[in-house]
Symmetry: C2
Subunit: 237 residues, 2 copies
């Protein structure tokens, strides 16, 4: 019974899972950037054909860049973690007095008395693996990364970008005149951004309606700016 | 003397500052996505004019989307932190036995004896503010966010995206034939990606040459894919 309460209590602190985080990263940019690009080009060219090509090129470019970026970030995190672990083992071995001091400082910072600082540090320093583990987590704030995470992350982010990017682009497939297609693209994308913002806010635990409007506004502002800039250059250049 | 050693020691753990992190986020995508888009369009259209317009629209769209995205992320982090602080104060007040249990578990996990777990928890629970602070940091892993961070972050990310995006686009300003401009764009951008990757790797503390090559490869793959996809659709559509 006590366990059940503790468990529920923990789940109340909404935390985004890794998958959810990846989908949010990919879809957030996937909905916004191809949308704004298509809107921008609609301000400069009449035919939808070129916008479809540019949109598809952007989706390919963006999904790969973000996907591989996610992969790289995951790999970098692993490399970084491994090199820091080696460094901590080295320090625990060769700079023991400094590590002892740092461990004591940790306990001082969280509010333990001088006596308990001493005792707790002594206990932790007994087991080297545990001590390094402790320093990694609480001195450096580093969690051990999941080795499969980089690849999964790349795929999730990339796919989410593609799914997000197809929505603003789809009207241009069917409607030849770009400003006509733009109307449907704006309507469809702002709706999707609103829904996406709503669920994203639920995950992050902020006010859902305000969050939904904020996400939608970003897309609208980015698209309007791209439209304005492209119209300016399209007319003059 | 002991202080000087401890200080140097701390600096040896390379950590990226917030500004650096923002520049890396913005420039990473700014160099890659407009580059890949321009390369992709070069596979489908002959005149540089339309590529310049598309590129500028993409830079406007991308920089605003990423900048505002950074702003939103900063704001969300603040909102989330505030709501979790309220929740923790509430729990410390009303679910004291569970919070005591969780605090003890923390000390058990880092390897303290049952006796010290008990004493340390007792000491921490004396001061409510300190206790909540402790739970925020070590139960939930949340740091108090800087309130000015969201705005600064938005500007840094957005500006870095613009700076990064102008590099691959610049040859198209001066060279009318797109495939000709593409050659200079590829050379300039891959060089910049390599240099960028080198410095990014120094910040994150991984092997700099391998890091530089990885970042450059991502750009090359994204550009090649966008080129291939756009050529496919440009010929058929």
């Amino acid at each position: 019974m006590g366990d059940a309460i503790a468990h529920n209590h923990e789940e109340n602190h909404l935390k985004s899972s890794d998958l959810l985080r990846d989908v949010v990263i990919g879809m957030s940019d996937g909905l916004t950037v191809p949308f704004a690009l298509a809107a921008g080009l609609s301000g400069a060219v009449v035919s939808s054909g070129i916008i479809v090509i540019a949109g598809i090129a952007e989706i390919a470019a963006g999904s790969i860049a973000m996907g591989l970026g996610g992969y790289l970030a995951g790999k970098t995190e692993q490399d970084h973690y491994k090199s820091e672990v080696r460094r901590e083992y080295d320090e625990v071995e060769n700079l023991r007095h400094i590590e002892i001091q740092e461990t004591k400082e940790f306990f001082a910072n969280i509010g333990l008395s001088a006596e308990l600082q001493e005792q707790a540090t002594e206990e932790i320093a007994k087991d080297k693996d545990r001590w390094v583990d402790f320093m990694m987590k609480y001195e450096l704030g580093l969690e051990k990364p999941d080795p499969k995470r980089a690849t999964k992350s790349a795929l999730n982010i990339g796919m989410s970008y593609v799914v997000g990017g197809i929505i603003p682009l789809s009207p241009y497939f069917f409607i030849d005149h770009s400003t006509e297609a733009l109307k449907y693209s704006v309507a469809a994308t702002l709706l999707c951004l609103f829904i996406f913002g709503y669920f994203k806010s639920r995950v992050t635990g902020v006010n859902v309606w305000w969050g939904a409007i904020r996400v939608m506004m970003i897309g609208a502002i980015a698209a309007a700016a791209a439209y304005g800039v492209a119209k300016l250059f399209g007319t003059n250049g």
